[in-house]
């Protein structure tokens, strides 16, 4: 699980008595991704902290209401940068994949599982 020392050394981490807290599911996913990549040896926690700190110092993102959301927008930007710098996934590849997911949602009729590569074969006049 997450080493308490790492949690303690992470600047500004929103948490309660039991550990980190999140405003939305994607924030927990971003957190878990980072912890698992670290555990798999892709980077040291201190290195992650330096990326996160730099991102936080760059100023608040414009569009966020919750404190947790502001924090995790920084977190996500820092993670994307670190992953690119480590050669795990480039910014271009990430942007492309994000667009593919967006398209997959647009192309999938509600009630069907969303999978990548879905084409617009759902008839748009069709009713549920």
């Amino acid at each position: 699980m997450i080493e308490p020392a790492n949690l303690a050394s992470t600047p500004g981490l929103p948490k309660d008595r039991d550990g980190p807290v999140f405003a939305e599911p994607w924030q927990a996913e971003a957190f878990a991704l980072t912890v698992k990549l670290h555990e798999a040896g892709h980077f040291a926690w201190a290195e992650w902290v330096s990326y996160l700190s730099r991102e936080i110092a760059s100023g608040a993102p414009a569009d966020a209401s919750h404190a947790e959301t502001v924090y995790y927008l920084h977190w996500l930007a820092a993670l994307e940068r670190l992953v690119a710098d480590k050669g795990l996934a480039s910014a271009v590849a990430l942007a492309k994949r994000k667009a593919e997911w967006h398209e997959a949602y647009e192309a999938t009729a509600h009630g069907q599982p969303v999978v990548l590569g879905a084409k617009h074969h759902h008839d748009h006049d069709h009713h549920h």
């Binding site: 999140f22 599911p25 798999a40």
Partner: protein, 201 residues
């Protein structure tokens, strides 16, 4: 009847996280099962878990319950809970004759501002398809065996409509105050895969 025909994409950051997750797991830099296991630990740590308080209020205040069942979005907002992103809430009531069960084929359709993070099984393909086809068998696997005489209603969430189950108030709780009642209400009871158990002591 859903008014929209395709699935509304999640928010920008949610899509960026999906991009990271799918690329990194594809490259075998991450193991999906280990990732899910960690996320599961945070199930109860996401979003204000207000659903239980809504249920307890409905159990103790009949006029509130009436408002909740006729206009859940307004009744939930009345308690100061918001955070929904434009979608409407509908609360469906369990009775001795009817048991309600929620499902959604998309993980984004879950009323997390009232229920917290969706459990991993809720997002899993087997639950999504089998809850509709054989709800009785699915409920049995959750340890909830319902007699044939009880009607099971399935509510498929959409991007515009989110459901929550109002479970039955357990016997032996007549003396409990609202706060104590709220502590008995579990997430699974508000999804419909469990009933609310009475106080253990």
């Amino acid at each position: 009847m859903a008014s929209h025909r395709h699935s509304d994409p999640p928010s920008d950051p949610a899509l960026r996280v999906k991009a990271l997750e799918s690329l990194l797991t594809e490259k075998k830099l991450l193991e999906p099962a280990a990732l899910d296991a960690l996320i599961e630990l945070f199930e109860t740590k996401i979003g204000p878990r207000n659903g239980a308080k809504v249920v307890a209020r409905a159990w103790t205040d009949p006029t509130y319950k009436k408002r909740l069942l006729s206009d859940a979005t307004a009744a939930i907002a009345e308690l100061g809970y918001s955070g929904m992103q434009g979608e409407d809430m509908v609360v469906v009531e369990n009775t001795p004759a009817v048991h309600n069960l929620l499902v959604c084929t998309l993980c984004s359709c879950y009323p997390w501002p009232v229920l917290g993070l969706p459990p991993v099984w809720y997002k899993a393909a087997p639950y999504r398809s089998r809850a509709v086809i054989e709800p009785r068998a699915v409920l049995k696997e959750f340890g909830l065996e319902l007699p044939e005489s009880i009607e099971i209603r399935i509510w498929d969430s959409t991007a515009e409509l989110r459901y929550m189950v109002l479970p039955e108030r357990p016997a032996g709780t007549e003396d409990l105050k609202e706060d104590a009642l709220a502590k008995l209400v579990t997430r699974d009871a508000m999804i419909g895969t469990a009933k609310v158990a009475g106080p253990s002591r």
